[in-house]
């Protein structure tokens, strides 16, 4: 098949058998492309199985930086007889089908619109290696070697990668390199690689970007945010969040002197216990989190309601997968939106964060700890399998060392004393809090104070007028008018600030009550707090200017204000969030090529604030792209903002596979007509 050579722009799919060691071989290919400075994104399409079932690894290489999925496979590496028939059919016209020719292809494999590349992978391995397991493992490296030759990947890049992969197990380097060479040599000897139309050429398109998975980034974000307690129950696709936390904690959280851990991880008996532990720890002044997926969130509902009503901080990372029920555990979806937003009975709602890249997973996880403590309510990070379990090219992670943890309104022992002293001596200058309490001699309360003083418990810099308490602290008094009360941590003070946290109705002083007015006042305050949340959560971002076809993933800039500096003139808007982002941007470019220009907003959190509303108000029709059947995000907009149903046009994908640019393009084009 002779056609135009495609440089740095194609899709390659590896069809493997689960559990045969193909994952690390395939990752080697991805990393090599990355090291050659070319944008690349891999997607694991794996079964809910440990060994034996088909698994695919799809790699998109895109010079333009389009890192969402695109339809059509240009090269199929077909090493799984089980799925071969379908894999064969999936090759795009003009593409390549690479297979193990140790046995001849069965009849019917006779497409004339594609090129067949048969390599006797098994025979080559059997000739070289005697051990059965080695034969299996190195078969993967042999085909990587073949691809290296076909794509003309720089050999030293891949050799360096192998060296790094087996650091500490140097004995393995040599046989791996050998296997690589076997594949490479066979191709060079038996195939005219100049006839191969797909090529990877070195570029410098990635700058200082990194290749990282969302789950690892969440785990690392929790480390940076100062989380000390993690409780979890294993569930795909969230498990690797806690795995990453554990890995980084064992590196960065071990006391140098004592060898003791500055963290605790508990594998709980179930998700109810996991979130209960998180709430207990958060209530007691530690930063704590759990990670789960849909079924776990379902189980956590009761506790989430407690967290909302009793105002206990909680960080939950929901790595969404395909539901309902057990659904397709190893496939992706954005289908827990409504579940998470309103989890639990009664009038309950929770702030949600929607990261769209591993960098945002890192940042938003860290931010979730601030938000949950500032707002004293559970905060949920809504990621998904695609973002969490796949590596993505993303901006390097950044941390400002001057950043302080925002612990919210937590009273220190001194501040409690100050509040009560105001009533006895009638004055109180806030600036002198510290001196005041120290002057006071050494009754047992003050002995505790000096201890509290040295603690990070409580925010010493609270500037709010504590006088407003009028001499008596109340756990649920809203003296600032923002709906957020002041909390105390157990052990802070010997005589002040103790109260019973409970999920039953209570008054401003935490005393149990069933009084109708008091209850209503309480839940109205929570509604006021929700308004405050709108200002604290990250706002949406807007694509600055019309998407040009040259933009690509990294070619666009975002604005946090609406309208953005350039553009914003269309009657048509589009909304996308999380992992729909990459494909959506590519689709916008495809549409722009056809003269269809849309204004774009990417929400980053729920509840929706003013900028979100402004965007909605300034468009006649808005496409809402999301990955679930029932248009959950659209529903959320209708419920929360009262947006007219006709105004919001859904663009949906819910087959469990990451949404593709082509799909979005087609749906919007059809609906615009």
């Amino acid at each position: 098949m002779n056609q135009e050579t495609k440089i740095n722009d194609f899709v390659i799919r590896f069809a493997n058998v689960n559990g045969t060691g193909s994952a690390s071989a395939n990752a080697l290919f991805t990393k090599a492309v990355f090291r050659m400075g070319v944008p690349v994104t891999p997607k694991n399409i794996f079964p809910s199985n440990i060994q034996g079932l088909p698994t695919w690894y799809e790699v998109r290489v895109s010079e333009k930086g389009h890192l969402g999925r695109r339809e059509g496979v240009d090269l199929m590496i077909a090493v799984n007889p089980q799925s071969m028939k379908k894999d064969y059919a999936d090759v795009a016209s003009g593409g390549y089908f690479l297979y193990d020719s140790s046995k001849p292809l069965p009849p019917g494999y006779d497409r004339t619109d594609i090129t067949h590349i048969g390599i006797p992978l098994m025979n080559l391995c059997n000739a070289e290696f005697t051990d059965a397991r080695q034969r299996q493992l190195f078969k993967n490296i042999v085909y990587v070697g073949a691809i290296v030759a076909l794509f003309k990947i720089e050999l030293d890049v891949i050799e360096e990668l192998i060296g790094q992969q087996f650091k500490g197990k140097e004995k393995l380097i040599e046989p791996n390199i050998k296997a690589l060479k076997i594949g490479e040599n066979w191709v060079l000897e038996n195939f005219d690689v100049d006839n191969f139309d797909l090529r990877i050429e070195r570029r410098d398109l990635l700058g200082d970007k990194i290749l990282f998975s969302g789950n690892s980034a969440c785990g690392l974000g929790a480390i940076y945010a100062g989380a000390t307690v993690a409780a979890w129950y294993p569930i795909t696709p969230s498990t690797s969040v806690v795995d990453a936390f554990a890995k980084y904690a064992s590196k960065y959280r071990v006391d140098a002197e004592t060898g003791n851990n500055n963290y605790a991880i508990v594998q709980a008996e179930d998700e109810l216990a996991a979130i209960g532990m998180v709430m207990g720890a958060s209530w007691n002044g530690a930063r704590a989190f759990t990670a789960t997926s849909g079924p776990g969130v379902s189980l956590m509902n009761e506790f989430l309601g407690l967290g909302y009503f009793a105002e206990v901080p909680t960080v939950l990372i929901d790595v969404q997968r395909t539901g309902p029920s057990t659904g397709m555990p190893t496939r992706t979806q954005q289908s827990d939106i409504l579940l998470a937003a309103y989890a639990s009975h009664g009038d309950t709602k929770h702030p949600l964060l929607f990261p769209a890249s591993p960098k945002e997973c890192f940042e938003m996880t860290a931010q979730a700890f601030d938000l949950t403590e500032q707002l004293q309510t559970p905060a949920i990070v809504m990621t998904d399998l695609d973002l969490g379990m796949n590596d993505h090219v993303t901006e390097p992670l950044a941390w400002d060392d001057t950043r302080e943890y925002k612990r919210g309104k937590v009273l220190t022992g001194e501040q409690l004393d100050f509040i009560y002293k105001v009533s006895t001596n009638g004055n109180g200058s806030r600036g002198k809090l510290e001196d005041r309490s120290r002057e006071n001699g050494s009754d047992s309360a003050d002995a505790v104070l000096s201890e509290a003083d040295a603690q990070p418990l409580g925010d010493q810099n609270l500037t709010q007028p504590l006088e407003q308490f009028k001499g008596k602290w109340g756990r649920y008094l809203d003296i600032d008018g923002d709906g957020i009360p002041y909390r105390t941590i157990p052990g802070t003070h010997s005589t002040r600030g103790a109260f019973v946290t409970r999920g039953s109705s209570r008054d401003e002083y935490a005393v149990y009550t069933e009084d109708a007015d008091v209850y209503q006042r309480f839940v109205d305050r929570l509604a006021r707090k929700w308004e405050t949340a709108k200002e604290l959560v990250p706002g949406p971002v807007f694509l600055s200017g019309p998407p040009a076809s040259t933009g690509g993933q990294f070619g666009h800039s975002y604005s946090a204000i609406w309208p953005p500096p350039y553009g914003g003139g269309s009657d048509l808007g589009v909304i996308f969030f999380g992992t729909s982002t990459d494909a959506a941007i590519e689709a916008l470019e495809l549409l722009a090529d056809e003269g269809i220009l849309l204004d774009a907003m990417r929400p980053r959190a729920f509840p929706f604030g003013k900028a979100f509303r402004d965007f909605v108000d300034s468009h006649e029709r808005i496409f809402v792209i999301e990955q679930n059947r029932d248009a959950q995000f659209r529903s959320l907009m209708m419920i929360e903002l009262g947006v007219n149903a006709d105004k919001l046009v859904s663009v949906l994908n819910y087959d469990g596979m990451p949404i593709t640019a082509d799909n979005i393009f087609r749906q919007i084009k059809d609906k615009i007509k």
Binding site: R35, D208, I210, L211, I223, G226, T228, V229, A231, Y248, Y252, D255, T258, G259, N260, N261, N262, Y263, A264, V266, A268, E269, D270, L272, A273, A274, I275, G276, M277, M279, G280, A281, S282, W283, N284, G285, A286, F303, L306, P396, L397, A398, W399, D401, S444, Q455, P456, T488, I489, P490, G491, S494, A498, F499, V500, T501, R502, G503, S504, V511
Partner: protein, 350 residues
């Protein structure tokens, strides 16, 4: 229940070593039924904490849901409390304890809260040997939802409405021993003499201290057919021995007949002195404890006292090797690896 507690305090109320009178350890006014066993236990907790010179703000009280779980409001008003959700107190206690190992964690649960909805969490908190007191106020019924049988109601016992419980009872004490609990005591809400030293010892124990306290529900389960009624328990209680508890470095002054005394030293040097009444009683042997419990049960009796204790208990923090300093006191400097480290992590991802 509405009554007004007298605010009058005798000026000469005795003070403990911290200078506090016992009322400093009380909680808010109970709303439980008059005569409810739970209130007697709450009074014993107040007494035990006062006698033990505990600083109330160094105690965290935790519970699930039920009449029993309301109790944390009724003792130690200077302690923080967390009245959580039904059956899930163990997880909340676990998280709280991980955050700050320096407080005393006092958990209160009911037989419904523990043996039914909370069985899963109960079993696992025992396994983890969390350093806490776990007190079950066991009335053999669901008080708060009006008297349904609980899983600890004895087979054949009759409810107030006259229905007979068909199912075998779960015996929480032997279950706890089976699961590896490191301190298991059983008592009766009406027996302060026994309950107070048991409570003190439980609070001093390093690890999971479970107290299964029979606590009659006067409203729904104090009828002749119930094996958890005051009368039944009074008639059928079999005591393993009386006991005293002395905090570290204190002489136990009362003298007892030699040969019947067994001193147990706790990890901090406190002493529990058991006065053995029951023959062949060995509180360190889980097997003989199990046998004795089963034996008593066959006779329709309830064995009370310190049933089992492991003096070499290793609690959760020791297993996890967490810092001596409470995790909630660590500062940003101990927790955040900083930007330089992040730059290295970035470099490793290219």
């Amino acid at each position: 229940m509405t009554y007004v507690r007298s605010t009058f305090r005798h000026p000469a109320l005795p003070k403990n070593d911290l200078g506090y009178t016992v009322d400093y350890y009380e909680g808010s006014l109970s709303t439980l039924c008059a005569g409810c066993g739970h209130d007697s236990i709450n009074a014993a907790i107040v007494e035990a904490c006062w006698e033990l010179n505990i600083e109330p703000h160094k105690v965290a009280k935790l519970s699930g849901i039920g009449c029993s779980s309301k109790s944390p409001a009724y003792f130690l008003s200077n302690s923080h409390g967390f009245n959580s959700v039904h059956g899930r107190m163990p997880s909340v206690a676990t998280g709280a304890n991980l955050a700050n190992r320096d407080l005393i964690y006092f958990g209160v649960s009911g037989d419904g809260d523990t043996a039914s909805i909370g069985m899963g969490q109960f079993v696992h908190v025992v396994r983890r040997n969390l350093n806490m007191v776990y007190l079950v106020m066991n009335n053999g019924c669901y008080g708060l939802t009006k008297g349904q049988d609980s899983a600890t109601a004895d087979a054949g016992s009759k409810s107030k409405a006259g229905s007979v419980n068909l199912f075998e009872a779960i015996d929480l004490a032997s279950l706890a021993i089976e699961l590896g609990a490191t301190f298991v005591g059983q008592s009766f809400s009406g027996d302060k003499e026994q309950l107070i030293p048991l409570l003190k010892a439980a609070m001093k124990h390093k690890g999971f201290a479970m107290l299964n306290v029979i606590s009659p529900c006067v409203t729904f389960n104090n009828n002749p057919g119930s094996t958890k009624s005051y009368d039944y328990v009074r008639e059928h209680v079999e005591i393993t021995g009386t006991m005293d508890f002395a905090p570290m470095m204190k002489e136990i002054t009362a003298s007892y007949e030699a040969g019947s005394i067994n001193d147990l030293t706790m990890h901090d040097g406190s002493i529990i002195r058991l006065h053995k009444l029951a023959k062949d009683w060995d509180p360190f042997d889980p097997n003989s404890a199990m046998n004795a419990i089963h034996h008593a049960k066959r006779k329709g009796e309830i064995l009370t006292g310190l049933l089992y204790m492991d003096q070499d208990s290793i609690e959760l923090h020791e297993m996890l090797k967490t810092n001596e300093k409470p995790l909630n006191l660590l500062s940003k400097f101990q927790l955040c690896p900083g930007s330089e480290t992040l730059a290295k992590i970035n470099a490793g991802l290219r």
